[in-house]
Symmetry: C2
């Protein structure tokens, strides 16, 4: 299985409703992109062990499934319209599990 992990930090002027709109958009991805096997995301819980604002963990059968997700029009649209306006930083890794 190929796992994609992404951590985001938000711009100072990103609002709660902006983040909620992005979360709502993420929730649509498994509906739109059949290669997604698992898709769990959410805001940081503020436990004192973090330095980013939001996490996404997505599982795929293989690297090809991840690539189809990465390039899918619904995913590209989400990034362009709901992520880019609010994101200040992104860290990501894909790894075999």
């Amino acid at each position: 299985m190929l796992r994609h992990v992404a951590l985001f930090c938000w711009k100072l002027d990103a609002s709660e409703s902006d983040v909620r709109a992005f979360s709502d958009g993420l929730a649509e991805m498994p509906v739109q992109i059949p290669e997604i096997r698992s898709y769990r995301f959410g805001p940081d819980a503020s436990l004192g062990g973090s330095n980013d604002d939001f996490a996404l963990v997505a599982d795929f059968d293989d690297a090809a499934g991840y690539q189809r997700y990465a390039e899918h029009p619904a995913h590209r649209h989400l990034i362009a319209t709901l992520l880019m306006p609010i994101v200040a930083g992104r860290h990501a890794v894909q790894y075999e599990v």
Copy 2:
């Protein structure tokens, strides 16, 4: 469930054997720390969608379980002896799944 995600990038002089020793140390954590429910880690697969070197995703029943892991002597020892010598950057988020 409380999920902890950490992404690491390595110092330029971190060797493959250094990273393997850290991985071997991580593999011991679920043996030593009973609060861990799931623990999956590994090096970046170099698919072109990443900007860090290594990922860890760990699940716990709740925030208290994560905190016991974070403060566990075996975990602190791993960080001090096998992570700190090689890590150049760390990003982390804990979130409810």
